[in-house]
């Protein structure tokens, strides 16, 4: 990967709203080059989307996030891919990772209520043929998410003028 792309990614990973002309200025290149690099990375699936970090806790809208450890029986010729796909196709599933260690798949799920999450686990997840067992953890508080500290705002505490 060339360094321009890497530099672009480093910036937009933190701020995807920055526009292409500003990127060009900051990286000392032409806007066309930026547009081109972005298009290429989108096509290659390197850039998978432009999301917004939302701290739902502050909105008053109820959300429950659960982290579910799932143990499964891998299938001949398919490994874990098939079962992972069956799980990630559910729209309420946010994240699915294959893990090393004590369990196989980590599923992160967002629901409106505890009941909704519980319903998903007992009705949909646990009933899948290959699923041997699940352990559900509810997330109580997000301190830091995707490199962003959620609990407090950055304040500039420097003296206002220094030599």
């Amino acid at each position: 990967m060339n360094t321009l792309k890497e530099r672009i990614l480093t910036i937009i990973e933190k701020n995807s709203r920055i526009n292409t002309s500003e990127l060009a200025i900051m990286l000392g290149t032409e806007e066309e080059e930026i547009t081109c690099a972005l298009a290429e990375m989108e096509a290659d699936g390197i850039i998978c989307g432009y999301h917004t970090m939302v701290n739902w806790d502050k909105t008053g809208i109820e959300k429950v996030t659960a982290l579910i450890e799932v143990r499964v029986t891998p299938q001949r010729g398919q490994g874990f891919d098939n079962i992972a796909e069956r799980i990630f196709k559910y729209p309420e599933v946010d994240t699915v990772y294959l893990m090393s260690g004590g369990y196989d798949l980590m599923v992160i799920l967002e629901g409106k209520s505890l009941k909704e999450v519980a319903g998903f686990v007992s009705n949909k997840l646990s009933t899948l043929d290959t699923v041997i067992g699940t352990t559900t953890h509810f997330i109580l508080k997000k301190y830091k998410d995707h490199g962003t500290i959620m609990t407090k705002k950055d304040v500039d505490i420097r003296e206002i003028v220094t030599p």
Binding site: R7, I11, M26, E159, V161, T162, P163
Partner: protein, 392 residues
């Protein structure tokens, strides 16, 4: 109260221009500042963690006067890998309370009454008062915009007298952002050697250079190590201003006298900071690279916005300042900065805070987030548009 209560020398020192400006700004709670001379990054966590760990382990005692052996050895290794200079960790290096202490100590260790110290300006505020406190005579060399604020051999030559002893070489420069490249330094070194001068090379911004130009220390040139004291520290490169830690590298003869003053006045640099600094030098290269890249992006951003406003500014290649020229507006730097603060609530330090020849310039610090820079510079743009409309 007795009439001779205070020292004439101290009372006679000019008050700092920054201080005066600070007092005005401090009155305004909602001003946006581009006036800060320190990084906006927090000290990288692994460095802070080492500081905390050292406290947990009870490393709460004095270190040796000249500093922790591990740290001095890391400094020696750093000088070797960054500048290819060999310094003996025990005889030619010692740890100070910030680069500032080292500046003061070198002057006090070397100067006799009447000796002259050559100080290029605009530059950091402490060289002139330190020279005066060491009973020496500061001789100011005015750096020029047309030379991109580099020091030329001709300018140096013209300022030399039989009393000249120390040349201060403050590059990469605060407030101009100017750097000196190898050829520039070679020309200076030739004059320095011919006139038997010594150099105080303040390289505190040495890690922060851009456009692919790596900082070169004058001490790395032939014949210069023995007549240079390199002053450096952790404040700018590792975002460690509050830790107050720096160091000096130079000939044993000078360093040992500097240590003598240090041992009486300071004892030793803060122990916690020294442990943290060992970690910075051992595992901090990637942090420095990341911060440098980020400053460089902001540097380009600020230069671009100034260009759009039609405010002339040479392209600085070091530190984290730009030094635009605002003389077209027919105001002094002080008037411009004060008016900008009153009308648009943006705090930018007038160039004159760094020497009289900073008249007509402003120091804009870009150690701020892009959002903050954009907000402040948009206000500056509105301000200059109004001024131009009024003046035309």
């Amino acid at each position: 109260m007795r009439k001779d209560l205070l020292s004439d020398k101290t009372v006679g020192l000019k008050p700092s221009g920054i201080r005066r400006f600070f007092d005005i700004v401090a009155e305004m709670s909602d001003a946006i500042s581009l006036g800060v001379g320190e990084p906006d990054f927090d000290t990288p966590w692994h460095i802070r963690d080492e500081g905390i760990y050292s406290l947990e382990k009870g490393r709460t005692f004095y270190t040796s006067n000249s500093g922790l052996k591990e740290l001095k050895m890391e400094v020696a290794a750093y000088m070797k890998r960054s500048q290819n200079i060999d310094y003996h960790y025990n005889h030619e290096i010692f740890i100070t309370v910030g680069g500032s202490e080292a500046i003061d100590l070198m002057m006090r260790a070397m100067l006799n009454p009447g000796d002259e110290v050559l100080i290029p300006q605009p530059s950091y505020v402490s060289y002139e008062p330190c020279a005066i406190l060491a009973d020496a005579v500061p001789v100011i060399i005015e750096l020029k915009n047309e030379n991109r604020f580099r020091l030329t051999a001709e300018e140096l030559e013209a300022a030399i007298t039989p009393a000249s002893k120390i040349l201060v070489l403050p590059f990469p420069n605060n407030p101009t952002g100017a750097i000196m490249e190898k050829e520039d330094l070679e020309a200076i070194a030739e004059v320095v050697i011919r006139h038997d001068l010594y150099v105080l090379s303040d390289e505190i911004y040495g890690e922060l250079t851009y456009s692919g130009k790596k900082h070169v220390s004058i001490a790395s040139l032939p014949g210069m190590k023995e007549r240079t004291v390199v002053v450096n520290g952790f404040s700018k490169a590792y975002a460690m201003t509050g830790w107050r830690l720096g160091y000096a590298c130079g000939p044993e003869e000078i360093i040992s006298q500097m240590i003598k003053i240090h041992q009486y006045c300071i004892m030793c640099a803060p122990t916690t900071s020294q442990y943290a600094a060992v970690e910075a030098l051992r595992n901090g290269d990637e942090d420095v690279r990341m911060m440098r890249e980020s400053y460089d992006q902001r540097r380009r951003f600020v230069l671009h916005m100034l260009e759009q406003m039609g405010i002339p500014c040479f392209e600085p290649e070091g530190a984290f300042y730009v030094f635009p020229c605002i003389s077209e507006f027919g105001m002094t730097s002080d008037e411009f900065a004060t008016k900008l603060l009153q009308e648009e609530k943006v705090a930018i330090v007038p160039g004159t805070a760094f020497g009289d020849c900073g008249e007509g310039y402003l120091r804009i610090s870009y150690a701020y987030s892009i959002d903050n820079l954009k907000k402040a510079l948009t206000r500056l743009e509105r301000f200059v548009t109004k001024l131009r409309a009024k003046n035309s």
